[in-house]
C-alpha cells in the first residue's frame, strides 16, 4: 500500500449504515449483512484497482 491505508478498516466503519439502508429498502437482515460484505469487498477492489493505476504513473513508488 502506498498510502498505508487499510481500506478494509475504513470501509467496515460504514457497514452498520449500509445494513441499515438495505434493511430499510426491504431486505431481511441476514441477507443485508451478507450483501454489505459483498459490497464492501467490491468497493475495496475498486479502490485497489485505482491504487494500481496510481502506481502505474511510475511517479509514486
Amino acid at each position: 500500500m502506498i498510502s498505508g491505508l487499510d481500506y478494509k478498516e475504513i470501509a467496515e466503519k460504514f457497514k452498520e449504515d449500509i445494513i441499515k439502508s438495505l434493511v430499510k429498502a426491504g431486505m431481511d437482515e441476514k441477507t443485508a449483512a451478507a450483501r454489505a460484505d459483498a459490497l464492501i469487498n467490491g468497493s475495496i477492489k475498486v479502490a485497489e484497482n485505482f491504487e494500481q493505476s496510481v502506481k502505474s504513473t511510475s511517479v509514486v513508488e
Binding site: I10, A11, V46, A47, F50
Partner: protein, 907 residues
C-alpha cells in the same frame, strides 16, 4: 423465470435470473451471451418483422428514400430496389453495418434489458442522456430501488476509499514539503529537493483536476453527494452538526455526515420519484461511460500503460471531483464560515450592515439607492436643548405656511439629550465597537462633546511625517555643532473625496461637511447673563479648543491603553510598590511609634475598661496586635476607613471593648436589615454583653449595610460611632480556652481588617507581579492600580481622566482643511440644495499622542505610533482593554461575528 441483463457501473453486463446474479459461464461474458441470444433476436424482430416500413431506418447518406413511404424505388449504395422486390430486406441488412445481427451488442438498451421486451420508451444505448424526455422521466428501465441502492453503495464506498487514498498521499506530500523546505534559502523549494511525490501531486492537480480543499476532500465529497442525491436539508444538518464534522483534516472521516448520507439517500430513493430518476440517470451515465471506455480499450491493439490517466478520465472519477468542488463550496460557507461574498449571491437581498455595505450595489431589491452612501455609517450627533428650541421655531414657521423641509428620517441619526453636555464615554465605546466591523473605520471624534462623524469616503492619499528638531550649539574649533534634542513634530495629511449618492445623501453630506468645519473652530462659552435673564449677545468667548480624534483603519489610531499608562506609573520596575494610597488608609505598625493618625479615618484606640474611644494606639498595644496571627501581615486598616468589600469568611480583629452577644432567638430578620443575626431576646438593659479584653480574632459571618435598627444591636463600645456597616462575628477560639460559643455583633468602626485577609485590596499584591513569567502578569495591576473608579468615585484620577476622553482615534488638531469642488457635478434639480455633489477634502492633522512616543528608561518603546496588528496589540494593549485583562476588541469582535452569522443565515 425472469431474466434480466444490467449494465453495471464497471461497464460490464450482468445477468440476473429472478433477481439473483448469475456468474459467467465458461469464460463467456454476459455481454457475449446476450449478444449471441437476445441481441440477435432483438435486431431481427425490431428491424425485420416489427418495422413494416423503411422509414424506420433513418441512416441518411447512402440510403435515399425519395418521396417517402409511397415511393416504390429505394436506392442503396448506388443500387435501386423496388419496394416489393424480393431480397430487399436482405440487401439492406447486408449492406448496412449497423443492422448486422453480429453487431447486435451495439443495440444493448441502456442500461437494462429484460426478456419482457425492449425499454418501453425505446431508449437505446448511447442515447442522448440530456434529452428532455429522459430528464423528465428519469430512467425508464425496470431496475428496482434496492438494485440502485446497492449499486450506489458501491459507488459511495469506493469513492470514499479513493478520496482517502489521494488525501493520504496529499498529506504525506505536505509533510514532506514542510520538512524539506529550507528557510535559509527562502520559502521556495529548491529544485533538487523535488521528488516523485511532488510530480505525482502535480499530475493529480493538473491532469486529474483534483481540487484543493480547506474542509477536507472527504467531507466535501459527502456534502456534494448529499446535495446531488438526496432531498435532505443539508444546510440545517450542517448547522446542527457543525462541530462533529471533522473538517480540515486530510484523512478525517466525517462519520456523522456519511451516516446521514446513507440514511438520507435510502429515504430519497424509496420516497421520491424525482430523486430516484436523478439517481438512475447518474447511474446510467457512469455505466455508459465505463461501457464505452471498455469498448474503446478493447478495440485498441496496443496496451495503454498509463492506467492512471485512463482511470481519472472516467465519468466516475470526474463525478467525484465535481462533487468535491460542490461540497467544498457548501462546507466553506456553512461550516468554515468563509466570507459569504465569495459566493454568487444577489447582494441586493442581503441585510444592510457593515459587512455588506461595500458589496451591495443597491440597498434593497427595489431601491435605487447605492449601499455605501454617506448616510450609511454610524455617526452620533448630539442635539442640544437650544437646537430643540430652534426646532420649535421652525415648527411655528411651518404652521404659519412656511415650507421648510424637515430633516425627516435623518433625525433618527441624532441623539438628543437635553441634559448632557457630552455624549457619555460608554456610548462612544459602544458606537466604536460597532464601527469596528466597517470595511475601514474612518471617522472624526470631537472630544469636546464626544460626537462621532463617520464617513464613507474615497481615500486618495495619505502622508505621515515625523520631524525631530534639535538645538544646535557651536563651539570654537568644533566643526560640527552639538545637537541637543528639542522636540519632534508629526504631521499627517489625508486627502479624500466625499460623494453624495442620492438627494438625501446630498443633504446629509453637507451637514457632515459643516460638522467637520466646526472641528476647526472653538467651543464658545455660555455668555454673560443680563440681569439673570437673556444672554448678552456676542458676550460668548472661545473656551474649548477643537481637539479631536481621527480614526483611519488601524493606521491612525490612539495608542492609549491601561498597559501603556501603567508603565508610566512604574509598573514593571523592580522598586515598584504602592504605599499609602489615599483610601483606604493603612497603619504601618512598624513605623507607628505609638500614635498613628489623628484624623477621622485613623485607627482609634479603645479603652477597654471604660468602653470609651480614645485616640492612638500605644507601642504596647501594637505589640499585642503583633502577637496575634494577623500580626504577621504588618499592615492593618480600621474598618471604618475601608470602603471596599469585606466578605463573609474574612478574618478580622475585634478591638477590645464591650459588644452585645448574639444569643436568645426571637426571630430572624433577613430582608429589612440584611443581617442574618438574631435580635437579642431581652430589652436593651437586659442584653447579654461580652467584654473583650484583647484584640480578638474573628471570622465575619454576615454583613449589613443597613443603618436602621443599629441602636438595637449596638453595645457600649459602638456608641457614638458612625456606623455604616454592621457585622456578625464569630470569635475564633482555636484551643477552646475562651469558651466563646456565641456570635458577637459589632460595627465597622470596631474591627481591624488585616490588609491581606481579604482580596478586597489588590494593590497589596501588585509589587509581586513584577515577574514577566507570572501566569497573568499585570492583571492585578489593571484591577487595582489602574482602576479608574465608578461614576461617583475616583480611584485612579489619571486613569479616570484618560478614559473620560478616550476613543480609538488618534488625538490631535486639524491644522488645515481644504475643500475642492472644481471637478464636481452640481445638484441643480432641487431648490435650496444647489451645491456640488462631491468634493475633494484635504486635511492636515497634527497629532497629540495619548502616550508620547519614544523609548522608556529601560530602552523599550513607550507606545507605538501605529497600534496596528497583533504584535503591537500584545506589547502595547488596546484602547478599551478592561479590568481583569479583558481584551478591548472582544466586544467589537462579538459584534462582527454576530453580523457575519446573521448574514450567513440570510444566504
Amino acid at each position: 423465470m425472469a431474466t434480466k441483463y444490467v449494465l453495471g457501473t464497471d461497464g460490464k453486463l450482468k445477468k440476473f435470473v429472478d433477481g439473483s446474479l448469475i456468474p459467467e459461464n465458461n469464460g463467456e461474458s454476459h455481454a457475449e451471451e446476450y449478444s449471441r441470444t437476445y441481441g440477435e433476436e432483438v435486431n431481427k424482430t425490431k428491424l425485420v418483422s416489427d418495422r413494416d416500413t423503411l422509414d424506420y431506418i433513418k441512416i441518411g447518406g447512402d440510403v435515399n428514400i425519395a418521396g417517402g413511404l409511397s415511393i416504390s424505388d429505394v436506392a442503396i449504395r448506388g443500387k435501386t430496389y423496388k419496394i416489393a422486390e424480393p431480397g430487399l430486406e436482405e440487401s439492406i441488412i447486408n449492406n448496412l453495418d449497423f443492422v448486422s445481427p453480429s453487431s447486435g451488442s451495439h443495440y444493448l438498451p441502456f442500461n437494462t434489458y429484460s426478456d419482457q421486451g425492449d425499454d418501453e420508451e425505446g431508449t437505446y444505448a448511447f442515447a442522448d442522456l440530456d434529452s428532455k424526455t429522459q430528464l423528465n422521466q428519469g430512467f425508464t428501465g425496470d431496475r428496482s430501488s434496492i438494485e440502485v441502492i446497492e449499486e450506489f453503495i458501491t459507488i459511495f464506498l469506493s469513492s470514499f476509499l479513493i478520496t482517502a487514498l489521494l488525501e493520504a498521499l496529499y498529506a504525506q506530500w505536505k509533510e514532506d514539503v514542510r520538512s524539506k523546505t529550507d528557510l535559509t534559502y527562502g520559502s521556495y523549494r529548491q529544485l533538487r529537493s523535488m521528488n516523485i511525490l511532488d510530480r505525482f501531486i502535480e499530475l493529480l492537480h493538473k491532469e486529474a483536476n483534483w481540487p484543493k480543499t480547506k474542509s477536507g476532500a472527504l467531507s466535501a465529497l459527502v456534502a456534494g453527494l448529499l446535495f446531488d442525491l438526496t432531498n435532505a436539508d443539508l444546510v440545517e444538518f450542517l448547522k446542527d452538526e457543525e462541530r462533529s464534522i471533522n473538517t480540515g483534516a486530510a484523512l478525517g472521516l466525517p462519520l456523522s455526515l456519511i451516516s446521514f448520507l446513507f440514511n438520507a439517500f435510502t429515504d430519497a430513493i424509496l420516497n421520491s420519484q424525482d430523486v430516484f430518476n436523478r439517481v438512475k440517470l447518474r447511474l446510467r451515465r457512469i455505466s455508459l461511460d465505463s461501457a464505452y471506455k471498455n469498448l474503446v480499450r478493447k478495440s485498441r491493439s496496443t496496451v495503454n500503460l498509463n492506467t492512471f490517466a485512463r482511470t481519472t478520465n472516467t465519468y466516475f472519477f470526474k463525478y467525484i471531483v465535481e462533487r468535491i468542488n460542490v461540497g467544498e463550496k457548501i462546507l466553506s460557507k456553512y461550516v468554515l464560515g468563509d466570507h459569504p461574498l465569495g459566493f454568487n449571491v444577489d447582494t441586493r437581498y442581503l441585510p444592510n450592515n457593515a459587512l455588506t455595505r461595500l458589496a451591495k450595489s443597491k440597498k434593497g431589491p427595489f431601491a435605487n439607492t447605492i449601499g455605501h452612501q454617506s448616510t450609511s455609517p454610524l455617526s452620533m450627533t448630539q442635539l442640544s436643548g437650544s437646537f430643540n428650541a430652534g426646532r420649535e421655531i421652525q415648527k411655528a414657521l411651518v404652521a404659519n405656511g412656511h415650507n421648510l423641509k424637515t430633516l425627516g428620517s435623518l433625525t433618527t441619526k441624532f441623539k438628543y439629550d437635553n441634559q448632557q453636555q457630552r455624549i457619555s464615554a460608554s456610548d462612544v465605546k459602544e458606537l466604536e465597537n460597532n464601527l469596528e466591523a466597517e470595511y475601514v473605520p474612518f471617522y472624526f471624534h470631537d472630544l469636546r462633546n464626544n460626537e462621532i462623524m463617520a464617513f464613507h469616503a474615497f481615500i486618495e492619499s495619505i502622508s505621515d511625517s515625523f520631524n525631530p528638531s534639535f538645538n544646535e550649539t557651536d563651539g570654537y574649533g568644533r566643526v560640527e555643532s552639538v545637537k541637543t534634542y528639542n522636540k519632534t513634530t508629526r504631521n499627517i495629511s489625508v486627502n479624500f473625496t466625499l460623494a453624495a449618492m442620492n438627494p438625501d445623501d446630498h443633504d446629509y453630506m453637507w451637514f457632515c461637511v459643516n460638522r467637520l468645519v466646526a472641528m476647526c473652530y472653538p467651543q464658545w462659552s455660555k455668555g454673560a447673563k443680563v440681569d439673570g435673564g437673556f444672554t448678552q449677545p456676542f458676550s460668548q468667548i472661545p473656551t474649548a479648543s477643537p481637539v479631536i480624534r481621527m480614526r483611519l483603519g488601524d493606521l491612525f489610531k490612539s495608542n492609549y491603553s491601561r498597559m501603556n499608562l501603567s508603565r508610566l506609573f512604574g509598573v514593571g520596575d523592580k522598586d515598584f510598590g504602592v504605599k499609602n494610597p489615599a483610601k483606604p488608609q493603612y497603619v504601618n505598625i512598624e513605623n507607628a511609634n505609638g500614635v498613628i493618625n489623628d484624623d477621622d479615618n485613623s485607627v482609634k484606640k479603645i479603652d477597654s475598661e471604660a468602653g470609651k474611644v480614645t485616640k492612638g494606639i500605644t507601642p504596647a498595644e501594637i505589640d499585642e496586635i503583633k502577637k496575634t496571627s494577623l500580626g504577621d501581615d504588618k499592615k492593618f486598616k480600621l474598618g471604618n476607613a475601608f470602603s471596599g468589600a469585606t466578605n463573609p469568611g474574612d478574618t478580622v480583629l475585634l478591638l477590645p471593648g464591650i459588644y452585645p452577644k448574639d444569643t436568645g432567638i426571637i426571630g430572624q430578620i433577613f430582608g429589612a436589615i440584611g443581617v442574618k443575626a438574631t435580635i437579642p431576646s431581652v430589652t436593651a438593659a437586659g442584653r447579654s454583653y461580652f467584654k473583650n479584653n484583647e484584640y480578638l480574632k474573628c471570622k465575619i459571618k454576615d454583613i449589613s449595610d443597613s443603618t436602621s435598627f443599629l441602636s438595637f444591636f449596638s453595645g457600649p463600645s459602638d456608641e457614638g460611632k458612625s456606623h455604616n456597616r454592621f457585622y456578625q462575628l464569630q470569635p475564633l477560639d482555636p484551643d477552646g480556652s475562651l469558651f466563646l460559643d456565641f456570635d458577637i455583633l459589632a460595627s465597622q468602626d470596631s474591627i481591624i481588617i488585616a490588609e491581606n485577609s481579604a482580596d478586597n485590596f489588590n494593590q497589596a499584591t501588585m509589587a509581586g507581579t513584577d515577574s514577566p513569567t507570572s501566569s497573568s502578569p499585570g492583571t492585578n495591576l489593571i484591577d487595582g492600580l489602574m482602576r479608574p473608579g465608578t461614576d461617583t468615585a475616583i480611584y485612579n484620577p489619571i486613569v479616570k481622566a484618560f478614559e473620560s476622553s478616550r476613543g480609538r482615534g488618534l488625538a490631535g488638531v486639524i491644522t488645515q482643511l481644504d475643500y475642492n469642488y472644481n471637478d464636481s457635478t452640481w445638484e441643480t434639480s432641487r431648490i435650496g440644495s444647489k451645491a456640488p455633489q462631491f468634493m475633494r477634502v484635504q486635511l492636515t492633522f497634527s497629532p497629540i499622542h495619548d502616550i508620547p512616543l519614544g523609548l522608556d528608561h529601560k530602552g523599550f518603546m513607550r507606545a507605538p505610533a501605529y497600534p496596528t496588528g497583533k504584535v503591537n496589540r500584545t506589547f502595547f494593549g488596546e484602547v478599551y482593554d478592561g479590568s481583569g485583562g479583558t481584551p478591548g476588541l472582544a466586544t467589537a469582535l462579538e459584534n462582527y461575528q454576530k453580523l457575519q452569522k446573521d448574514l450567513n443565515n440570510k444566504m
